[in-house]
């Protein structure tokens, strides 16, 4: 895996990821996740739905970046069609924009020469790109991009659970590590679909997660919430 990919997967990467709980805050507010014991099911369910979708589009975007294919608008509208929740689309685009800004400011040769031009083309086509698509465009390797996207789909909610519920950070981290085989298979499947026609990419839905995202967004506007999503 490239250093660039490691940096993007790091929770300290200034791509705005810290502001998103991936539905965990709303789930915690409703008492659906209370203790360390509730976390594994939440994380694996998230990984198998939203995580798969993010991995699939990160891999497809990486495939386009590696092959210098300018299909960014198509990928953007295909991901929109798979994200019926407007709150989820906003969260994805906010993180995408912040990640693109941070990546564009990384003054290293691989960024300037390889993904710098890709990012410029991507941002010209879609000024507020989806997060998964930016990850793919920057990492440019379908397996690495898929793994980073899949990992980020659960690492953010895991750390949010520590902050929101005061869960034991070591046990939370253990739950995250236990997802390793699932993360590998999600990323491998996503990389295998990277070259498909974007219209034919998988489209896993997450009805409850979408409902929680919409409710979270409403509460976020009406009262104080720690996370933006």
């Amino acid at each position: 895996m490239s250093v660039l990919a490691l940096m993007l997967a790091d929770s300290r990467f200034p791509g705005g990821g810290h502001a998103h709980s991936g539905g965990l805050e709303e789930a915690a507010a409703r008492g659906l996740v209370r203790t360390e014991a509730d976390l594994p099911a939440f994380l694996s369910g998230r990984l198998r739905t939203a995580g798969v979708l993010a991995a699939v589009f990160a891999a497809a975007a990486a495939h386009s970046a590696a092959g210098r294919v300018d299909n960014w608008s198509t990928l953007d509208e295909e991901l929109d069609a798979r994200t019926p929740s407007s709150a989820q689309r906003s969260a994805s685009r906010a993180q995408g924009r912040a990640t693109a800004r941070a990546a564009a400011a990384m003054a290293v040769p691989s960024v300037d020469n390889v993904c710098g031009s890709t990012l410029r083309v991507l941002l010209a086509a879609t000024p507020r790109p989806h997060h998964a698509i930016v990850l793919g465009a920057v990492i440019a390797s379908p397996p690495d991009a898929a793994l980073v996207a899949a990992y980020l789909s659960v690492s953010g909610p895991a750390s949010a659970s520590v902050r929101l519920l005061g869960l034991d950070p070591l046990r939370v981290n253990g739950s995250l590590a236990a997802l390793e085989p699932l993360l590998r298979s999600v990323a491998a499947d996503a990389a295998a679909s990277a070259a498909l026609d974007p219209a034919a990419l998988p489209a896993p839905g997450a009805p409850a997660l979408d409902l929680l995202a919409e409710e979270h967004d409403r509460h976020h506007r009406e009262e104080v919430r720690l996370f933006a999503s």
Binding site: G23, A27, L32, V33, A41, F42, S44, G45, R46, R48, T49, A50, E77, E78, D80, A81, R82, T83, P84, S85, S86, A87, R89, A199, P202, A203, P204, G205, A206, P207, A208, L209, D210, L211, L212, E214, E215, D217, R218
Partner: protein, 239 residues
């Protein structure tokens, strides 16, 4: 059982919405009803179906400015077949510019050991409008569901509006807060009419604008009556 049914509705010179072609294929039986306005067709299942191994397909074409309401009369109960083969039912709707379709089937109940695949494809042209409801019930009362996969695809002038696949019957995923949160009934209604209402939500229901225009209302509940009531709240929020 393999069945191919077809329905074609057009608007005639006098402005009436007329069923021009109606080909039932048991167990997919189409019954037109007399109305003054929109063409109304009831979709009746004339046998216990779908059973494992069944392959049922309905194609519907609606001409320019024609209106069709296609309603179910009874729940679809997906049952296992004798040889463990999956069953499949697909509906393909093709709408010309100005056409308007309301597709309102009754709930689909996924019984234990059933293995069913449901596909809905809607191709809209120009300013055609579609309203499509789907109510999925996981098992009869006290029963764990078999497996169901649903695929909903809608496009307008070949550009994607909605693509959503769902898998039901995986115990871990069904129970997960991400997928169905342990609820037994999922009800959704898609309004592809170019509307972009403000997002609204409540306890286990939401009404959200789609990126390319239109609205999706969603409700989860432990029973179908509550799910449909919540879907009604979401529809009311749509304005």
């Amino acid at each position: 059982m393999r069945a191919r049914a077809h329905l074609r509705v057009e608007r005639d010179g006098a402005g009436r919405h007329v069923v021009r072609e109606l080909r039932s294929a048991a167990p997919l039986t189409l019954l037109p009803a007399r109305t003054n306005g929109t063409a109304l067709v009831h979709l009746v299942s004339s046998a216990a179906t779908p059973l494992g191994g069944d392959d049922l397909a309905l194609t519907v074409e609606v001409g320019p400015h024609a209106e069709l309401t296609l309603v179910g009369v009874a729940a679809t109960v997906a049952l296992p077949g004798p040889h463990g083969a999956p069953s499949r039912s697909s509906v393909r709707l093709t709408l010309a510019p100005g056409a308007s379709v309301a597709y309102l089937p009754e709930p689909t109940v996924v019984t234990g050991r059933a293995c069913h695949e449901s596909v809905l494809v809607a191709e809209l042209a120009g300013n055609a409008t579609l309203r499509a409801r789907e109510v999925l019930v996981l098992g009869r009362v006290g029963e764990r569901p078999g497996t169901l996969t649903t695929a909903v695809t809608a496009s307008r002038d070949a550009r994607p509006l909605v693509r959503q696949h769902l898998r039901v019957g995986d115990r871990e995923l069904d129970a997960s807060v991400a997928s169905l949160a342990g609820k037994r009934v999922l009800a959704t209604e898609l309004y592809l009419d170019g509307s972009t209402p403000a997002a609204a939500s409540g306890e286990w229901w939401s009404c959200t604008p789609l990126a390319a225009g239109g609205t999706l209302t969603t409700a989860l509940a432990d029973d179908a009556v509550t799910a449909v009531r919540r879907l009604g709240l979401a529809a009311a929020a749509r304005g």
